[in-house]
């Protein structure tokens, strides 16, 4: 079973995302900010990361840049999932090593479509 790390400071968003990805047969891990996510990745590298942008302590983009420098940090498929829906943010995320970009609000169909596009399902 593939492992996905859900990184979002909103408990509700994490719960919604968790329910959707569990339906897609993923084992879930959760983090409430970039620093927690980084610690989790140092402990165990997930197969994929669903990543919010704006979070306290460490933002999603800062986390992504740090992640890609970790040993094995190039392997997780990272999908941003954020309300930062302008093209500049999208470019910045892709340049930092994101694999896909989901613009909130999302639903299960969008998650499924994006997971399929990046080969997770």
């Amino acid at each position: 079973m593939k492992k996905i790390l859900i990184v979002d400071d909103s408990k509700v968003i994490r719960m919604v995302a968790r329910k959707i990805v569990q339906e897609l047969d993923f084992e879930t891990l959760e983090a409430a900010d970039g620093q927690q996510a980084l610690d989790a990745c140092r402990d165990e590298m997930p197969d994929a990361v669903l990543l919010d942008w704006n979070m306290p302590v460490m933002s999603g983009i800062e986390y992504l840049k740090e992640l890609r420098l970790l040993p094995g940090g190039e392997t997780p498929v990272v999908l941003f999932c954020t309300t930062e829906n302008d093209i500049e943010h999208i470019h910045e995320a892709m340049a930092a090593g994101a694999n896909e970009y989901i613009m909130k609000p999302f639903d299960s169909e969008i998650i499924q479509a994006k997971f399929s596009q990046v080969g997770l399902i």
């Binding site: 302008d86 999208i90 470019h91 892709m94 896909e100 970009y101 613009m103 479509a113 596009q117 990046v118």
Partner: protein, 269 residues
């Protein structure tokens, strides 16, 4: 809504488009026709039914047909047919037309444009191979409303996210107030026309590739056969027809046959 009203609206749609509103789809009548009733200042579905029973105005009949024939679509829907188009169908057709450098593609149920734009995006990515070619994509649909949206090429965030990888999105679209507009380069590759699949196809000319996906399922068997046979007449021997995943030519016409290894792709017999 009374059973008589259901029959009345279904008959209007069938007569004008050939599309069958099956009993299990009758629930759609209510949600789709209430806006039509409101638009024409009528009192609910009863008012709409009364208005079309005697000397129905053409505009109301057209709106009813429009409302009932607009079907869900999204970019690169089902993905497989688009992979087969790019990797298997297109190369031999391009080879055989190397002298004329002319390719014509018909999206017979273009709806709001996502399918023809998906094909255009694929062709745009092959720009170097197609340098000097005249490529025409004709998108037709019976619904004015759908075609207007297709021509406009403006899609919501929800619509673009359902089929487009982010790189494809940012390469081919620009952002406009939270919506996404497909680039003029892509838009200019497609000409849209209102067209009824029950009408004569000869005015459309000949096509090398026809996409007629997820529309025949709504027709009765005889109309399906007629449509397929008339598509065949517009197509050279090496042309290719794409049908939807739930559609087939088997038992309907012997003018097409399945193409080995290419699911959903049919060759003229």
């Amino acid at each position: 809504m009374t059973p008589e009203d259901v029959t009345l609206f279904s008959q209007i749609v069938k007569k004008r488009s050939g599309l069958v509103v099956s009993p299990e789809k009758a629930y759609l009548l209510e949600s789709r026709l209430l806006p039509v009733s409101r638009k024409h200042g009528l009192e609910g579905l009863e008012g709409l039914a009364a208005a079309v029973r005697v000397n129905p105005p053409e505009a109301i009949l057209e709106d009813i047909t429009d409302a009932m024939t607009t079907n869900e679509t999204f970019f690169f829907r089902d993905i497989g047919p688009f992979d087969r188009f790019r990797d298997d169908v297109l190369p031999p057709i391009l080879d055989s037309r190397a002298a004329s450098k002319h390719l014509r593609i018909w999206c017979a149920a273009a709806s709001t444009g996502q399918e023809p734009y998906s094909l255009a995006i694929i062709l745009m990515e092959m720009a170097s191979r197609l340098a000097g070619w005249r490529v025409e994509i004709i998108g037709t649909d019976i619904s004015n409303e759908a075609l207007n949206k297709a021509k406009e090429g403006l899609y919501s965030q929800f619509e673009v996210q359902r089929g487009l990888p982010i790189q494809t999105l940012i390469k081919n679209f620009t952002q406009e107030d939270g919506s996404w507009r497909i680039s003029q380069n892509i838009r200019s590759m497609i000409s849209y026309r209102k067209f009824n699949l029950l009408d004569d196809f000869s005015s459309l000319g000949r096509f090398d590739i026809v996409f007629c996906r997820n529309v025949l399922i709504y027709f009765e068997r005889d109309d399906k056969a007629q449509i397929l046979n008339r598509i065949r007449k517009q197509m050279p021997k090496d042309g290719r027809l794409f049908l939807g995943g739930a559609e087939t030519v088997v038992g309907i016409t012997d003018m097409f046959q399945g193409t080995p290894q290419l699911r959903g792709v049919y060759s003229p017999v």
